[in-house]
Symmetry: C2
Subunit: 364 residues, 2 copies
C-alpha cells in the first residue's frame, strides 16, 4: 500500500477542530488498510500571522510544494480585522492558490436527502440537487495588477482592482469543466457578463471555441452571471456543471452551497495542472469558512473537512474505493441519525465535532 504525504493546515476559527476530526478519520482509514498517509501539520492564516508575522511562512509554502496533497481547514476571523492588507489571514490562502497554480476550484453543491428540509428553498426545488461549480481560482480581479489605493489631489482616495484574463487561462478552466461534464450529464453552463465586461466577451468567445473544437458532442449554454444567480435560486436543478471566473465563482458557489441546506457538509478541491510526471498539485478544503462565532466549542460540523479528504482520495490519488468507503461512512453516520447542531432537525439531539468524527470513523 502506497503511503501519501499530506500537509494538514488547520488554520483559524473552527479549522483546528474540524482538522482534529479529520485526523480521527485518517487513523481509521489506515486501520482498514484502504489508504495510508504521512501527515505533517503547519500553520496558515491568522494563526501563522500570530506565530511568524506572516499569514503563510516560506517554509510552509515549501512543505506545501513537497506534499502530495494539502488539506486546509479555514482562515480568517475578527481577531485580525485590523492587520495590514498584505498580512491579512486570507492572503495566506491566496498565496497558496497562486504559487501552487491551483487554477481549478471544484465546488460540488449537493443536497443530501436527509437534509432537504434544512434548505431555505422549497423541498421539491432542491431535493436531489447535484451541481458542480467550476471556478477559475488564480486569475481575475483577485490577482490582477494594478491593485492599489492612491491619494488624490483633492484629499480623497482612489482604489483600483484589475480584472484580467488571458485566453490560455480561460481555455484550461473550460477543459476542466467539460471533462467533468463528460462524466456527468454532459451539460455545461458558462456564466459571465459579456454585456458589460471585456473579460466576459473573451470568456464567452474562448468557451465557445473550446466547446466547438473539443466537446461538440456535449451541451453548452451561456448565461449572464446576474441571471445565473437568479436561476440558481429559482430552479437550481436546471444546471449540472457551471463554469465561471474567480469573483462570480466566489459569490455564485456560495449561493449554490447555501441552497443545499448543507453548507457544513460541502467539500471543495483546488487543482493545479498535471505536470510532466503526471502529478498535479491539489488543495482540499471545506466550502464553509472559519465561523469564529462557534469556534472552540466542539459545535462545528467536520463532514465538509472529511468529505474534502474523500475528494482528495479520488482526485489526487485515484483511490476510488477508499473515497467511496469514506463517502459511504458519512452517509451511514447521517442515516444512523448523527447530527451536528447546524444540521439538527426536530427530534434529533445534536452531537459535537469530535463525536461526529468518531461516528464516521466507526462506520468505516
Amino acid at each position: 500500500m502506497a503511503s501519501y504525504k499530506l500537509l494538514l493546515l488547520p488554520g483559524d476559527g473552527i479549522g483546528p477542530e474540524v482538522a482534529e476530526g479529520l485526523k480521527t478519520v485518517l487513523g481509521a482509514l489506515k486501520e482498514t488498510g484502504l489508504a495510508s498517509f504521512e501527515t505533517e501539520t503547519d500553520l496558515v492564516g491568522g494563526s501563522a500571522l500570530d506565530a511568524h508575522g506572516v499569514p503563510l511562512a516560506d517554509a510552509t509554502l515549501q512543505r506545501a510544494k513537497d506534499a502530495d496533497a494539502i488539506l486546509l481547514g479555514a482562515v480568517g476571523g475578527p481577531k485580525w480585522a485590523g492587520v495590514p492588507y498584505e498580512n491579512r489571514p486570507e492572503a495566506g490562502l491566496l498565496r497558496l492558490r497562486k504559487d501552487l497554480d491551483l487554477f481549478a476550484n471544484l465546488r460540488p453543491a449537493i443536497c443530501y436527502p436527509a437534509l432537504a428540509e434544512a434548505s431555505a428553498l422549497k423541498r421539491d426545488l432542491v431535493e436531489g440537487l447535484d451541481i458542480m461549480i467550476v471556478r477559475e481560482l488564480t486569475g481575475g480581479v483577485y490577482f490582477g495588477e494594478p491593485k492599489e489605493i492612491t491619494s488624490l489631489p483633492d484629499g480623497g482616495k482612489r482604489a483600483v482592482d484589475t480584472q484580467v484574463y488571458t485566453s490560455a487561462e480561460i481555455e484550461r478552466i473550460t477543459h476542466v469543466a467539460f471533462d467533468l461534464a463528460a462524466k456527468r450529464s454532459g451539460r455545461v453552463a458558462s456564466a459571465e457578463k459579456h454585456n458589460v465586461m471585456k473579460t466576459g466577451v473573451l470568456w464567452k468567445e474562448v468557451v465557445t471555441r473550446v466547446h466547438a473544437e473539443h466537446y461538440a458532442h456535449l451541451e453548452l449554454e451561456h448565461v449572464l452571471a446576474d441571471n445565473c444567480a437568479m436561476q440558481l435560486v429559482r430552479r437550481p436543478k436546471q444546471f449540472d456543471v457551471l463554469v465561471m471566473d474567480n469573483l462570480f465563482g466566489d459569490v455564485l458557489s456560495d449561493i449554490a452551497a447555501m441552497l443545499t441546506g448543507s453548507l457544513g457538509m460541502l467539500p471543495s478541491a483546488s487543482l493545479g495542472a498535471v505536470d510532466d510526471k503526471g502529478l498535479r498539485r491539489a488543495l482540499y478544503e471545506p466550502v464553509h469558512g472559519s465561523a469564529p462565532d462557534i469556534a472552540g466549542q466542539d459545535k462545528a460540523n467536520p463532514i465538509a473537512m472529511i468529505g474534502s479528504l474523500a475528494m482528495c482520495l479520488r482526485y489526487s490519488f485515484g483511490l476510488g474505493e477508499a473515497a467511496d468507503a469514506l463517502d459511504g461512512a458519512i452517509t451511514d453516520a447521517l442515516a444512523g441519525g448523527a447530527r451536528t447542531a447546524d444540521i439538527a432537525t426536530e427530534g434529533t439531539t445534536p452531537i459535537g465535532t469530535k463525536a461526529m468524527a468518531e461516528v464516521i470513523a466507526q462506520a468505516l
Copy 2:
C-alpha cells in the same frame, strides 16, 4: 396642476408592451387630476440601433437631459447578439446612466402577500419581505479604464476590465443609503470584498467614516459580498437597506428580486445628484429585462413599469398622494384577482398586458 415632461423609452423585447400599459395609466392619472404629463417617446437599445445605427442617438440623450424624468422599458435581445461591443443595446442604457450621472440605483425587493407562494423560498422566510438595495450605478468595473482586449505575442488574447472607486463616489452613495434607512428601519448593511479587493477596503473605510460622522444614531453592519448573497437566500428578512458597488449590486439585487416571487412587479429608480436648482435627473425602469421569449404576445406583466411611475411620482416630483393612489390601484387590482401569467396561481385565469393595465387604470 403642474405638468411634467416625461421621456418614455420603451426599448426592446417586452419594453414597448409594458410602455403601452404605462400610457393607459398615465391617461387615467390625468383624468383623476392627480398629476399631468407631457410625454415624448424615443428609442433606446436594439430598436435605436436598428433605426439610427447606435443604441442611443445624441438627440435622444439631449431629450433625456431636457426631460423632468425618464421612464425606460428594457433593452437587449438575441437579435443583437452579433453586433460590435460598442453598439450592443446595453451600451445605450449604460450611456444614459453615465452621461446623466445617475449614480444611485434604488431597487426595492418587496414580497407581495398575495404572491408569497410564488417564491422559491419557504413562505415564512419571505412573507413581508421589504428590502431596499442601493446600488452604485456609474462607477466600478462597468466604466473603469482600461477596458479592452489585446493580442498577445503567443497568438492568444488578454482582456482587462478595471474596477475603480474614489472616496467621493463611495461617500455620495453611502449618504443615499443612510438617508433612506433613516425613513425606514434605520439599519444599513454594506457589502464588499475587503478581504480580496482594494476597492472593498476603501469602500468599507469610507462607509464606516460617513456613518460615524453623519449617521452615528443609525445602525451599520459590514458583510462580505459572498456571505451577503448567502444570507439573502438563508434569511433575507435580516436586511433592510443594503448598499454595494455596481457589480455586486447587479448580481445581489437580482437575487433579492427573485426571492420575492414577484420579479415582474419590481420597479427601480436611478437617481442623479440634486443640482443648484434643487432638481435631480432620474430614470425609472422595471427590474426585469426585455424577456424576448414572451415579447409581442401580450403576456408581460406591466406592474413593474407602472410601479416605476409610482416611484417617479414620489422621488422626482414629490407627488406622494398620486404615488400612493397608484400603488393602491396596483394593490386593488391584485386583490381583485387580476393576474398576468408570471404571477398566476392555481384557480386564477391569467390576463394579458393590456388588460392588466386597464384594470389598474380603472382602479385609479
